[in-house]
């Protein structure tokens, strides 16, 4: 009876979803098309091998930097930076819009004058966010699978699925976090900025941990560490890392209704 809020939220996302999908598919098409050239160019591979460790740390995606293998190439060019960037932007945007966006727009006033509990409202926003992020992951996975078969690239569908799955969990964690911060503050721009800053910090911690000894013990608090740690394109997704990401998403998603429940709704 009350799934209307989630459905409307998804309907509002249609256009955005189409653009994000187009971006992901275009990115994959470009990378896949360039792959044979990179693979067959030993000079380029040597060059990448000579990159300073600091640079390699950013393009490793949990394993060796190796542009001659499909796994190494996709890890370095797609999963270490561009794909998380796109999915996190989409997820954080949706999370921040969920509560804070409607509150700032003033439409929350009308909606919460209906017999919907705040808890229900937030959970429906979380459901819509989950569907959107999972959908974008599915688009990415299909594009990769089709591209990998066309070239062809030697990477299994299972390993592509593991990498995409890890990415979806990472994006869900940050999307839920944005929903939580938005529910607590009611301010969309602030929420986006805070959560994006947290993501950048976590990304740097995970990337630099192998190089900076002081960072190594704290890397476990970085969701990006758990995102890459299983080396999903070569070894699949280790349950422990997947569960940590899922745990963050569930915890933030569970706290978000409580955050909204406790406070006054702001006037637009």
């Amino acid at each position: 009876m009350f799934r209307d809020v989630a459905l409307k939220t998804l309907r509002d996302l249609r256009r955005g979803f189409a653009w994000w999908s187009l971006g992901l598919v275009g990115l994959v098409a470009l990378l896949v098309a360039v792959y044979p050239t990179v693979r067959d160019n030993p000079a380029l591979s040597r060059l990448v091998k000579q990159y300073p460790d600091a640079l390699k740390a950013f393009i490793g995606f949990g394993g060796q930097v190796d542009y001659t293998s499909a796994a190494g190439y996709l890890g370095g060019e797609l999963f270490s930076f561009m794909a998380p960037l796109l999915l996190l932007l989409a997820a954080i945007g949706a999370g921040a819009r969920g509560v804070a966006g409607e509150e700032e727009a003033g439409t929350l006033e009308l909606l919460l004058s209906c017999p919907v509990t705040r808890r229900r409202f937030v959970l429906e926003k979380l459901a819509a966010l989950t569907v959107e992020v999972t959908g974008l992951g599915a688009v990415l996975l299909v594009a990769l699978w089709v591209g990998a078969r066309a070239v062809p690239m030697h990477v299994s569908a299972a390993h592509l699925g593991a990498a995409t799955g890890s990415l979806v969990l990472l994006a869900l964690a940050y999307g839920a976090l944005a929903l939580l911060v938005g529910a607590a503050t009611g301010r969309r721009t602030l929420t986006t900025a805070v959560v994006a800053a947290l993501a950048v910090a976590a990304y740097l911690v995970a990337a630099l941990a192998p190089l900076v000894s002081g960072l190594d013990p704290v890397k476990v608090v970085s969701p990006f560490y758990h995102y890459t740690a299983s080396d999903p394109l070569r070894h699949g997704l280790a349950p422990v890392h997947a569960l940590v990401l899922l745990g963050i998403a569930v915890l933030a998603g569970a706290l978000a209704p409580l955050a909204l429940e406790r406070r006054d709704i702001a006037v637009a």
Partner: protein, 300 residues
Amino acid sequence: MDAPVIRFDRVTKRYGRARGIEDLSFEVLPGEVFGFLGPNGAGKTTTIRLLLDLLRPTSGRIDVFGLDARRRSREIRARVGYLPGDLRLYGRLTAREHLRYLAGVRGLRDLGEGEALARRLELELDRPVHALSRGNRQKVGLALAFFHRPDLVVLDEPTAGLDPLMQQEFNALLRETTDDRRTVFLSSHVLAEVQHVAARVAAVREGRLELLDTVEGLRTRAFTRVEATFRTPPAPDAFDGIAGVRELERRNGTVVLALSGEVDPLVKALARHEVLALDSHEADLEDVFLALYREPVRVP
């Protein structure tokens, strides 16, 4: 006597910079139009948002339909229609899509009286609301407040942007609502808007209840409005302490006085100054109301 539909019991709400309400108590009875008056910023919207559980009181108790406004809010809101003072809609959706959405959220199978209301208010159902004028958006808000036949309609400055013809239609809508023993809580900053539809009015100022009376009762507080223009403005306290006389306002050399007693003491007082012009007439209801507001705020 029937149990009240709305009951505020010593409710206080304080927050941030915005002014809240202080120790507010009143009751609204079933089947009445209750006029809730006050200047902008007096606490009208705060009061309304408290009863919808959009705000939480600092202290005090609010009951709606005899249910606790905080814990039983969902049950209450199922029976309430609300027009916010600052109505915000989904710009890309049409009025019909708004009705459909809120009908879905309210768990209704159809649009209720939405289409009939749209015809009455001459509202275009199928244009995106961002393309509508302010008055037409307000009609969308009215349709959303009434379409599900709520037992209580809460309207925050509802006539903003409505043309006079629509205002009449709106008044008719209120009468039909109370004819079914349903209740209307109507806020406004001008008495004229509510005096023809409301039987009782409350007025708030600076978050406190200033006045709670019937419209009839307000009329009995009528007085004569005396406007005198002087060559040289009299001292500020020139008319203090005269029986039945109260100074309402003063601009340049003109002083406006409310007279509710005998005429003679005032005439004697005026005669001590050089009077250039003198005008007096029965005060209308708006004057009565404004005069009440000009009384000094009681300090507890």
